[in-house]
Amino acid sequence: MKAVNCCSIEFHSIAENVSFARVAVAAFASQLDCTLPELEEIKVAVSEAVGNAIIHGYRKQTDKTVRLTVKIYKEGLEIIVEDSGQGIDDIDLAMQPAYSTDPERMGLGFVFMQSFSDRLRVESTPGLGTTVTMFKHIGIRGAKARAN
């Protein structure tokens, strides 16, 4: 599978950049014929992954770098969110619905990423950082793929 188009975005770990990341990915994704609900799902998934990098990965230190890569394939969209933050000790535990290490948060980030993408992969090394990779089928091809 060869990407038709690809962009890579790096930005500081500032909370305001969550909204930038979301809009940038949506603008890029619009090169595929996304439906509005698909675009909304992409935006939520990106928000959650980028938000996690900032809050959990970098513990709200604002001078770190979040890296976002978006690849367009004929079949859909791949979104990769990387931080070089503190990493996740137990990925399976972290991905459980309602699990959060922050009592103020809901533990729904991974739930949304999972619901709104067709494949979710989380790689993490404690002390080194976390990479979240999501693939989402888009358009007629997406509908077909989901039906199968």
């Binding site: 950049n17 979301r22 935006k43 928000s47 103020e104 948060r105 809901m106």
Partner: protein
Amino acid sequence: MLAGDADRYRTKMDALLVRLSGDLDLGVADKLRITLDEHLNTKKIKYLIMNLSRVTFVDSSGLGVILGRYKKLTPFGGKVILVGAQPQVKRILELSGLMQIMESYLDEANALAKIV
């Protein structure tokens, strides 16, 4: 956009009506939480009515602010009431389960009628 403009917050007896707008995400969550709590604390509010009709996006950071206020009010018999969420926002509220634990109405009049 989510600034605590006075006219976005209206108090009626022990109810606080707040009209939110824009995207409810990590970028605005802290500020929104603080502003809401200032109003809730100083005015002895029991019912928080959140008009979401001009909210264009919500993610789990935004939901966290709403759920946090719910947890704050319910121990004292209070409520959080949601009004007028747009379809995409409603969907996230439903997926998260918030829509199931909070009352929701189509418009402010209906929401106010329920509590006064």
